[in-house]
Subunit: 332 residues, 2 copies
Amino acid sequence: MIQRGCKSPLRCIVKLGGAAITCKNELESINMETLKSVCAQLREAMAGSTNSSPGSVPSMDWSTQMGYAAVSLAEEFKDGRALDLVSNFIVVHGAGSFGHFQASTSGVHKGGLHLPLVKAGFVATRISVTSLNLEIVRALAREGIPSVGMPPFSCGWSTNGRNVASADVSHVIKAVDSGFVPILHGDAVLDELLDCTILSGDVIIRHLSHELMPNYVVFLTDVLGVYDRPPTDPDAILLRKIDITAVDEDGTWSIMKPCLQLKKLGVKITVAAHDTTGGMETKIAEAAMIAKLGINVYITKAGTPHSLRALRGEVGDDAPDDWLGTARHHLF
Amino acid sequence: MIQRGCKSPLRCIVKLGGAAITCKNELESINMETLKSVCAQLREAMAGSTNSSPGSVPSMDWSTQMGYAAVSLAEEFKDGRALDLVSNFIVVHGAGSFGHFQASTSGVHKGGLHLPLVKAGFVATRISVTSLNLEIVRALAREGIPSVGMPPFSCGWSTNGRNVASADVSHVIKAVDSGFVPILHGDAVLDELLDCTILSGDVIIRHLSHELMPNYVVFLTDVLGVYDRPPTDPDAILLRKIDITAVDEDGTWSIMKPCLQLKKLGVKITVAAHDTTGGMETKIAEAAMIAKLGINVYITKAGTPHSLRALRGEVGDDAPDDWLGTARHHLF
């Protein structure tokens, strides 16, 4: 039943970190500046060498407040500019300041749908995260990216003890094969053990990576990459390149860049132990699992020249010195 | 793989007609008054005999503009009122003034995804109809109905020459079995023959009825039911009860009420021939197909005492004289 892989190889899975695209300290508020910049960079990455100027892109969001008229639309899309994208990308976004309040208030991640508060929290969480999904789909469409929202709960994703139990990826593949960019997100889902839980965007990316083997995966965050301690610490060192040597799911690894810090940090560190940013712990573990599949993983700051290079696939196996971010490879 | 039917019998599939819940002459505008009334009636129907007063219902939409505080939520949901609903309902809504402009401008119903305008129209149509879906999910959640959006494209519904080709209804069943009310809608989907097309809410209802055999199906529209000519005509007669005698898919039938008009109208009429309301033709044909399955179908005006009786399942096999609407049965 399940078709394995896309017709043409999937180029990239992009994670839009919740912290990057929403305002952390303001409930249900989108960081429009970063989101707009991310969408423009994604279009640039999909356009490849035919680098069309962002101003000339016809929008695919024709909502009334945009004031579109039928006649100008037919004219705008006549010359085929909308089809010059190699759009075999998948975007997965986090929730940031959407959904978090609803999920944590109700404890929906711990299950218990028989409890009224949990059931209501499930509904409220989905309303919040799907409204964010809609806004991200619209922002991408305004950049001419043929984006389609695919909320995991609606797509039938379910978990068993928070691990993916069922996910018919064939819908996602069909969408990619038809030239669309599926936009998934962290969502409240049914769980075989717990009744219900939260499926995080990072777990979704690991599953999609395993099933679809993209050329590379980019995590866009609100910091330059992975640090050896909280990035707010003035002594924090950006870990430039990490070699995944972990053989178990705990994810231990060694640092290849910067070499000078290697001894100070110890050959193997659990970066997650220093984490205070909330989502970084899962992100690192999931990124390690993806790298173990032989897929290059880049973690970098959204809306910077570094994120554009990562999205275009220009960082490669050996991250250049002027690229700031964390690259993660599996050495065979 | 596909589980057939819900754990407990599905009580009702409700169609919220696009003309009833949106403002026909204003692009992307919701008829909030009717929508609110429909949601309150749905809650009443789900509450059964324990008719809770609408004012006391705790909302499941906790978006920030609603101003909810965690402490009051925990208190509100403590007493279990949110679980007193027998919620084995499915809601399918039309698009009305959402999506129509986008679909008709681009011709997305005729397929041709290789054309930039069609591809953009597919994206734009989905943005418009999913934004309506989100608002309907929120309106239902505000009435304490545990609603979850399930856009057909995301759920993997696809068509072949506009007929449903693939629809894994198991996701919908799982949602119902977990106590949620799935909210589907007319959507742009992939089509095996045409590349893409529009899957109408009425076709979705026929498919779900066939798979899940609900006790009854209610179509909520902006007129009292099916008339013998356009309802704007002062001589228009409401056809109160229709007996489905059609054996083919063309849908011919005889009218049982009002008996006096039988001769004037002819024993068999094609009501659709008099239709100028846009969606009524498909609605009647689809309703006829559902009635042929042995399921009672009621077509009535949204937000009236008649719609409440229909939603509660009180109209029965023999529509009472003081109930205004069109009942449709298959006589075995």
